[in-house]
Symmetry: C2
Subunit: 145 residues, 2 copies
DNA sequence: TAACTTTAAATCGTTTACAATTTAATTGCA
DNA sequence: TGCAATTAAATTGTAAACGATTTAAAGTTA
């Protein structure tokens, strides 16, 4: 690559990742609107559908989000009746997050989203998996916060 | 993939892209802090360093950002003395964005960022280019807004 | 055990991000 | 020409996102 091309927008890996991220999240909207939730709510539920209850801090780590982001998100989800937040008995500093019945029930309605989204990306399952694995390897190798 | 695995967080392509995007942008911070700008300012400058002046709408399209996002961003960059905004003579609805001398001068200081960032991703130039091209192809195939 | 350190979550301030609406200029066409 | 439709950017409202700080609980140690 020519030296003067390094600063070209279309040569930036970061911009490609950043734009893809936003555009894919935009495609989720019609599906998530039906459930009345946002993308951030959705990935929070994905974690909880696998692990319930879960400590606040562990949830944040899974999602790569900090307490400044997650505290208001979880409070709004609590208000919608999707989950409950409670202090842990053995350590009053920690918060435990649990799904409500409503939060658990949403899983069924969400079950068809991943395949419909795959469809919308126009990728074959193999292409999608390969790309996802490449990104996971990149993420693992990035310098930590 | 087992049916019940579709909703697992780590199987989601979108979450991988979204997380990589945020983590890579985080790595830009020390470099951009030195220039006193944000990542959004940076990508805006990347466009302007290639095309100056540029109509507001064209800039938005390049960056995949809408007027609701870009109007305040450009106003704040104008306030910092990086660019100017002016109505177009032949069509008073349109805004033309031009770099100031200061905005042009920042390019020199930014010149080393891309290679330093490549370094921080721990990817070879070939790996980075391949991944970037894959994402561009995906972006192009996604259903438009 | 009292003071210091560490840890966890909440809070605060700033910046993005986008959908939806508004305002104003231009274009199309009857 | 005059009015409806379109277009461009700004505005409004809401929801992230994160750095930095604060508050409070728990752990450490002198």
């Amino acid at each position: 690559m020519n030296n003067k091309d390094y600063l070209k927008l279309d040569n930036q890996l970061c911009f490609a990742v950043y734009t893809c991220s936003k555009e894919i999240i935009r495609l989720y909207r019609p599906f998530l609107d039906k459930l009345g939730i946002t993308y951030t709510h959705y990935i929070t539920l994905l974690v909880l559908w696998e692990t319930d209850p879960i400590p606040f801090k562990k949830l944040c780590n899974h999602l790569y989000l900090d307490s400044g982001t997650m505290t208001p998100v979880l409070k709004s989800m609590e208000k919608k009746g999707l989950l409950t937040r409670s202090r842990m008995e053995n350590d009053e500093r920690q918060i435990s997050i649990s799904l409500t019945q409503l939060g658990r029930e949403l899983k069924e309605q969400a079950a068809t989203i991943p395949l419909q989204m795959l469809c919308r990306t126009q990728l074959s399952p193999e292409e999608a998996n390969t790309l996802r694995d490449t990104l996971h390897r990149l993420l693992k190798r990035l310098p930590q916060a």
